[in-house]
């Protein structure tokens, strides 16, 4: 084995140790709730907590809504930019990168100033409206990933010719978008969806400052008040992320196996 290869394997080993050892430690600690023996008591405690179910369910629902409305925003935008407004591409790409640059706390303080109960659009005046505001903030957070995933999927199909073919057959833009374009960028949409799910489930700042019963603040609350349950929750959160990433890989693989006609 050459020197370069040995060095590469050493780098991999160091990286694995750096990431895996803390995980193993966390998992091991989560099994120590019962003195003297390993047990899943911490996990039982978590799963029997009503707040776990409530916050997990709330965040899962928010994730689902974020994905649906995000798709309805991003797919037509990416389609329109690709088809009619290629000159706006750099502008749209810049906008979708903004959430990566501006800290969440700055964004949510901006929300509170614009949408507080004394403004002309008082979203924070009611629970339901605050939920909508939170969903919009999640959409914005997931924008960089969702837009890129969908745009990449659109590159694999000849959007212009498919659109013209559908138009020549009498289709309007709604039919074209929902029957010709959406199904053919589904791999990109699903990739963006899984990333969005992972982001929403773990998000803390916006949910906490908008005072909504999301999973992120629950994780922080448990972390501040319990010993073993936070470790169990950390492992559960990691599992959710890994399952999302795994499904993303599966969808990408299926998308590659069935080539799209250009």
């Amino acid at each position: 084995m050459s020197g370069k290869r040995i060095a590469a394997w050493i780098a991999v080993a160091v990286g694995v140790v750096y990431f895996i050892v803390p995980l193993i430690s966390t998992f091991e600690f989560s099994l120590r709730m019962r003195r003297g023996e390993y047990s899943f008591d911490a996990y039982e405690s978590v799963f029997s907590d009503v707040r776990f179910h409530t916050t997990f369910g709330y965040s899962a629902m928010m994730a689902l809504l974020t994905i649906v409305f995000g798709m309805l925003l991003v797919v037509p935008t990416a389609y329109w930019v690709r088809l009619r407004l290629p000159q706006f591409r750099p502008v749209v790409e810049f906008i979708t990168l903004m959430p990566l640059v501006i800290p969440a706390i700055v964004i949510v303080f901006g929300y509170l100033r614009i949408y507080n109960s004394s403004s002309i659009i008082p979203f924070t005046a009611s629970t339901r409206a605050t939920d909508i505001l939170l969903m919009c903030s999640y959409m914005m957070l997931s924008l960089p990933y969702m837009y890129r995933a969908v745009d990449t999927a659109m590159r694999t199909i000849d959007v212009r010719t498919l659109t013209e073919a559908a138009e020549s057959l009498g289709a309007g833009w709604r039919t074209i978008l929902f029957r010709c374009i959406f199904p053919n960028v589904m791999s990109g949409v699903l990739s963006g969806a899984f990333i969005t799910f992972a982001i929403v489930m773990g998000e803390f700042t916006m949910a906490a400052l908008l005072d909504r019963p999301a999973f992120g603040p629950y994780l922080q609350l448990i972390g501040a008040n319990r010993a073993y349950e936070p470790s169990a929750l950390a492992i559960i959160a990691f599992l959710i992320t890994w399952i999302s990433m795994g499904l993303l890989q599966l969808v990408s693989r299926i998308g590659r196996a069935r080539p799209s006609a250009a």
Partner: protein, 354 residues
């Protein structure tokens, strides 16, 4: 009034005018080819008929109805694209049914039409396949069936055979023509391949630099080209530079040798330079018959093309190419050997300057 009429069509992209004063009247059931090099405007005209490009000025009517400002999905025009454009998420059957479902046709009508169309293209057994499971030729036939399923008033084909290999191109173009004749659909076919255009069209529009240089049957366009461009683009052509010796008698000097043209004498002016055109198939090696022209030269090149031998004879400044059938019993002419070429006076075309 013609079925499809294009009147004074102009199209500009910014300051660049790509279609200049294009006029065309197409009768119902006609098969018209737009033939020309890349960038001549043929696809732009087709896309204006389809509604994918707006018209800068002029009008397009179908069956007397003005289509100029209608959206593509309001024109009832079928279109077949170079890149097939089948919907990857739909099976062959679903692709063909798409236009019918958009038009909200009854389910049994959709089923019977799909079956009819797939039968027309002999792909009924592939109804459940997806486009990625088909060959290029099969995909293009499905695209044709899809375009025909909606019973369009006009069928447009934008270089549908360009992406296919040579053998499939030949068989598929014959199939397209056969289907078009059967259904009697007015068809406009865009191609840069002259053989395609000549073999399947009722009429050909030869386009150059945004203009229609000539509109005529394949016979007319090939044998009586109206301009130098048409003569050189359609078929192979020998072009000879000469000087008019006697306009009235049609006598022209080419490399010091005299020949006579039996046509286009009105274009000749005594003492003026002129360009003559001669098809290779009109020329033969050997002695001249009664009333024929005879020019002497040297064999410059002999190219073996399989069934054909292409021989080039150098006269002086000019050269003449001619085709001989391959004959295994006869040795090909030798390079450098003296030769005479003979051709009828009626086969000499005098070209206009453009």
């Amino acid at each position: 009034m013609a079925f499809l009429e294009l009147s004074n069509i102009q199209k500009s992209f910014g300051s660049v005018q790509v279609v200049k004063n294009f006029n065309m009247a197409i009768e119902k059931g006609e098969f018209i080819s737009f033939l020309g090099p890349s960038g001549c405007g043929k696809t732009t005209v087709l896309r204006m008929i389809a509604g994918f490009e707006t018209v800068s000025s002029g009008s397009i009517t179908i069956a007397g109805q003005d289509q100029t400002h209608l959206k593509p999905n309001q024109r009832n025009i079928g279109m077949v694209f170079q890149a097939y454009a089948l919907f990857p998420n739909m099976t062959v059957g679903q692709n063909v049914a798409f236009g019918l479902k958009v038009a909200k046709k009854p389910k049994d009508e959709i089923e019977s039409t799909v079956k009819e169309m797939l039968g027309l293209i002999h792909l009924g057994h592939l109804s459940d396949r997806f486009p990625y499971q088909l060959s290029g030729g099969q995909q293009q036939r499905v695209a044709l069936a899809r375009a025909l399923a909606i019973r369009p008033r006009v069928l447009l084909l934008d270089e549908p055979l360009s992406a296919l290999d040579a053998k499939i191109r030949v068989s598929l173009r014959e199939e397209i023509r056969s289907i078009q004749r059967k259904l009697g659909i007015t068809t406009v076919f865009v191609t840069h391949d002259q053989e395609e255009a000549l073999s399947i069209s009722d009429r050909i529009v030869v386009m150059n630099e945004g203009r229609a240089d000539q509109i005529g049957s394949p016979f007319e366009v090939y044998n009586f080209p109206a301009t130098r461009f048409v003569a050189s683009f359609v078929g192979t052509l020998n072009m000879l530079a000469g000087t008019v010796a006697d306009a009235g008698a049609g006598r022209i000097l080419v490399d010091g040798q005299s020949l006579v043209t039996g046509r286009d004498r009105a274009k000749l002016q005594n003492g003026a330079a002129c360009t003559l055109a001669l098809r290779p198939e009109a020329v033969r090696l050997g002695a001249a018959g009664p009333g024929e022209n005879l020019l002497s030269g040297t064999i410059e090149e002999v190219s073996f093309l399989g069934a054909i031998l292409r021989v080039r004879v150098r006269l002086g400044e000019n050269a003449v190419s001619l085709d001989l059938f391959n004959d295994p019993a006869k040795a090909p002419p030798e390079r450098g050997a003296p030769a005479t070429v003979a051709f009828s006076t009626q086969d000499v075309l005098v070209l206009a300057e453009r």
